[in-house]
């Protein structure tokens, strides 16, 4: 297998979908409904990235991801806590679960 060729091919099919909208988006007119649809996508996309994947974060024990996620949700509800702190606290919670 030619790894250089593989990297080239992968780079191409990764970069092209990322950049094409930059050149197309100005030419599309977004109506009210479509605008609303696009504005909701960050929330639905991130949700789809979290659930159900977080429960498979540990292949054997679903509750490991659940506990880390619960800690993240609780801390995120408190205003003024930077997301970096939320992330590290969640990592720490998972580490504690693994220790016991």
């Amino acid at each position: 297998m030619n790894i250089a060729l593989l990297i080239f091919g992968m780079a191409l099919v990764t970069y092209i979908p990322r950049v094409i909208p930059a050149f197309v988006v100005d030419k599309i007119r977004f109506g009210k409904r479509l605008g609303k649809f696009i504005n909701l996508i960050p929330y639905t996309a991130m949700t789809a990235l979290i659930v159900p994947g977080i429960f498979n974060m540990d292949a054997k024990h679903w509750y490991v991801g659940a506990i880390g996620g619960a800690v993240a949700i609780l801390l995120s509800c408190i205003k003024k806590i930077p997301s970096a702190v939320v992330v590290l606290a969640s990592v720490l919670a998972v580490m504690v679960v693994y220790l016991f």
Partner: protein, 238 residues
């Protein structure tokens, strides 16, 4: 004026710090697998430099292990990254860029994490320099993480590396919870999307499931989330 640009750039870098913690374990996992499959250190780092897509790279190395050909790996990568067309559309609708070169560079902000950071940021703080700050930190985190993985994969205790597996999930949670918290209709949309994706994941590859549930969830959301306000942008973002 100049200092505003710099401030925006640094703000973008600051906002991306959590991604560093999230990328590091993924990059280390990738590096471990790649070296284990017989890829050289240079090839492993080059893949991160040129491809810059965590899930795709890990999948590619896994497929290499099963003896898959280059064409099928490239095809699988394409499918896995199709969701970025949607994310990119959101990003470039939010940050208007005139300069073609900056548009080409801006494509590098389109990772799940870059998308998450940009689309949840206040419109006023979100410009091309903010975007460049995000690209700088996310890209360097990925490449440096890969180097660390190649060099020090045996030194890091397994329990620490495993624990960092929660980091990117925690980041996404930290980014959506503040908006969802006070907005029951948005909460409902999110729950529906989660259910759709969980069901779909039983029947198909998760990369397809994510695309479909993102679109269907948002489409359903347009009927749930209030339409009373003229400016839907502030309604959803507030």
């Amino acid at each position: 004026m100049q200092s505003n640009k710099l401030r925006s750039y640094i703000y973008g870098m600051k906002k991306s710090i959590p991604v560093f913690f999230g990328f590091l374990p993924v990059a280390i996992t990738f590096a471990l697998m790649a070296v284990g499959q017989g890829m050289s250190a240079v090839e492993t780092v080059c893949m991160s430099v040129f491809v810059f897509a965590g899930a795709s790279q890990i999948m590619a190395v896994g497929m290499l292990g099963t003896g898959a050909g280059a064409l099928s790996i490239v095809l699988a990568t394409f499918v896995l990254n199709l969701r970025h067309v949607i994310m990119s559309t959101c990003i470039f609708r939010k940050i208007k860029i005139k300069n073609a070169l900056l548009k080409l560079l801006g494509g590098m902000s389109v990772t799940d994490e870059g998308f998450a950071l940009i689309t949840t940021e206040d419109d006023g703080k979100c410009d091309v320099f903010f975007m460049l700050g995000i690209i700088t930190v996310t890209y360097l985190s990925w490449v440096l993480g890969t180097v660390v993985g190649v060099v020090a994969s045996n030194v890091l205790p397994k329990i620490v590396a495993d624990s960092f597996g929660i980091a990117l999930y925690a980041l996404f949670i930290a980014l959506i919870v503040p908006d969802v918290k006070g907005n029951f209709k948005l909460f409902l949309t999110v729950v529906i999307t989660a259910i759709i994706n969980t069901v779909l994941c039983v029947f198909m590859e998760s990369s397809w499931a994510i695309i479909i549930s993102t679109l269907v969830g948002a489409a359903i959301g347009t009927f749930i989330v209030n339409d009373g306000n003229e400016n839907t942008e502030t309604e959803v973002a507030a």
